[in-house]
Symmetry: C2
Subunit: 253 residues, 2 copies
DNA sequence: CGGCCAATTGATTAAACTCAATCTGCGTGG
DNA sequence: CCACGCAGATTGAGTTTAATCAATTGGCCG
C-alpha cells in the first residue's frame, strides 16, 4: 500500500508536515492543531485514479467533492463539435466540486493527467465544516475566489495575448501555484501535460503551439525536457505576458 | 427621489414582486416571507453610479459587497499594455464581491455601462447571512458557482469558437440570463454595451467584430437597433455557437 | 521489430489584426 | 438654426497570425 497520498503528506521535513491543502492554507494563516486535525480527518477516505480517468462529467449530477492529494487533473468542457477547452489545471491541494450542495449537475468535466490520489468529501461534511470551522471555511472560500480569479486570468490570457505570451503567462501561473505547495525546484517545474493539452488550454492549434514553444526554447526563455520545464528568464516572461502575481496572493482573516 | 431601485422593484406586477435577486432565486426555490424580508433588508442601503463609473479597482482592497438592483456593469482586467479583457457582464440581481471576507484585494475591476443602482452589503452581513439563512446562503453559493461556470464558458467561447460563433454564444448567454430576471421581450433584449466592449469581451479587434456583426445582421440571424438586438433564429444561433443552456440551470436544496 | 503516442516540420489557406479614413447621429455653443 | 465636436459605427487596403492538411520523426513498450 503505502499510498501516494501518504508519501505526499510525509515527503517534506520541516517546511511542510501537512497535506498539500494544509500547506497551501498555512502560507496565509497559522492553522491550529485542532484545525489541522479536522482537515486531516476530512481527507480520510482517499481514492486513486490512473492517468487519463474522467471522474467528473459535464452535465451529470455531482455526488461529492474532492481534495487533491497528489497528481494533476484538468477541468474542461467539450463542445458538441468535439473541440475541447481546458479551463485550467488542478494541482495537489486544490478542491474540486465544493459547490456540490448548490448545483444540480456539473458544468465541466475533470480528467486526470497523471495518477491522482483524491480525498473524497461528502456534501454534508462541507456544510458542517462551514458551520463549525470558520478558519477552514475562510480558507476554502479563499480557494474558491482564487479559482475564479485564475479563470478570469485565463480569459485574459486567451483573449488578449499572442501565442507565445499565452505560454509564458501559463507557465508563470503554474510556477507560482506549485511554489505555494512546495513543488518547484528553483525555476524548474514538472509538467505532465502534452502539447495537445496546452493547445486546448490556450486556444491554439497543436501545430501552432508546437512552433511557438520551439521558438521560446530557441530564444533561451525556457528549457524543456520530457518531464518539465525550466523558466530561464522570469523577468522577460513576466514582461511579455504581463503576468500579475498579485492575483495569487494569500487570504486574510 | 423615487430611486431607480424602487421603480425596479415595483415595475412588474404579478410575476416579479421582488428585487431582481429575489426574482432570480425564486425561479429555483420558493422563498419564505421571512427570507424575502431578510433579502430586502439586506438590500436596504442603495447607492447609485452614473454610466462609466469604476467602483471596484483591480489590486485595491475590497471594502464591501454589492447587489445590483438595476443597470449593467462589466467585470474586467486591464493588462499593463493597456489592453482590456472583459470577463463578463454584470446584470440586475447579480452579486459582486461576496468574497470580500476572504480576499485581501480585488483581482478584477468593475465599471458601470449604464446608470446603476446598487445595494451595499457589509462584509459582516454576509457572514451573518451564511450563518442564519441556509436557503439564502445556498442561493448565493449557487450564484457564485454560476458565475464560475459563466467564466468557464467564456474561456471556451474565446478559445474555441470563431468570431461569429462567439457573438452568437454571448448573445444567447445574455438572453438566458435576462430571461431569468424578466428583462427580455420574446427574442428581443436590450444591450447597453458598445462594439468596443463586445470586442474586449470576445477577444477580437473592434474592426473585425464590426464586420462579423454586420455579416450576421445581413444573414438575418439578428436584428440590431441602437438599443438592443433581436435573436431571429435561436436554433441556428444555438447550433453555430454550440451553446449549452444546461450550464445555466437553477439550484437544488 | 511493429505499433503507438507525442512531437516536429512543410506547405498552403483562412482568420483576424492594424492602420487609416470616413460616416452618422447627437448634443452644444454661437 | 446651424457649425462644430465627439463618440460610436463602418469601410478599405494591406499585413500578420494562426489554422489546416499532410507527412515525418523519435521514443518507448510489448
Amino acid at each position: 500500500m503505502a499510498s501516494e497520498a501518504i508519501k505526499q503528506i510525509k515527503h517534506r521535513g520541516q517546511n511542510a508536515p501537512f497535506t498539500p491543502l494544509a500547506r497551501k492554507l498555512s502560507a496565509s494563516t497559522q492553522l491550529s492543531e485542532n484545525e489541522v486535525g479536522y482537515l486531516e480527518a476530512l481527507q480520510g477516505k482517499t481514492s486513486e485514479f490512473p492517468k487519463g480517468t474522467q471522474f467528473i462529467h459535464d452535465g451529470e449530477p455531482l455526488k461529492q467533492a474532492y481534495i487533491v492529494q497528489s497528481g494533476w487533473a484538468i477541468r474542461y468542457t467539450l463542445l458538441s463539435s468535439g473541440r475541447r477547452q481546458i479551463w485550467g489545471y488542478i494541482l495537489p491541494g486544490d478542491a474540486i466540486g465544493f459547490h456540490v450542495n448548490f448545483q444540480r449537475s456539473a458544468s465541466f468535466s475533470v480528467s486526470t493527467l497523471t495518477h491522482v490520489v483524491l480525498s473524497q468529501v461528502d456534501p454534508d461534511q462541507i456544510l458542517q465544516l462551514y458551520r463549525d470551522q470558520p478558519v477552514l471555511a475562510a480558507g476554502l472560500s479563499w480557494c474558491a475566489a482564487r479559482e475564479y480569479t485564475l479563470l478570469g486570468d485565463q480569459s485574459a490570457r486567451i483573449g488578449r495575448l499572442s501565442a507565445a505570451d499565452r505560454l509564458a503567462h501559463l507557465f508563470l501561473e503554474l510556477w507560482h501555484r506549485l511554489e505555494l505547495i512546495g513543488e518547484t525546484e528553483g525555476a524548474w517545474l514538472e509538467l505532465p501535460m502534452t502539447q495537445a493539452d496546452l493547445a486546448d488550454t490556450l486556444g491554439l492549434s497543436l501545430v501552432h503551439l508546437n512552433r511557438e514553444l520551439g521558438k521560446m526554447r530557441k530564444r533561451g526563455l525556457v528549457t524543456i525536457t520530457k518531464t518539465g520545464i525550466r523558466l530561464n528568464h522570469f523577468d522577460q516572461l513576466m514582461e511579455m505576458s504581463e503576468f500579475n502575481p498579485g492575483h495569487l496572493e494569500g487570504f486574510r482573516l
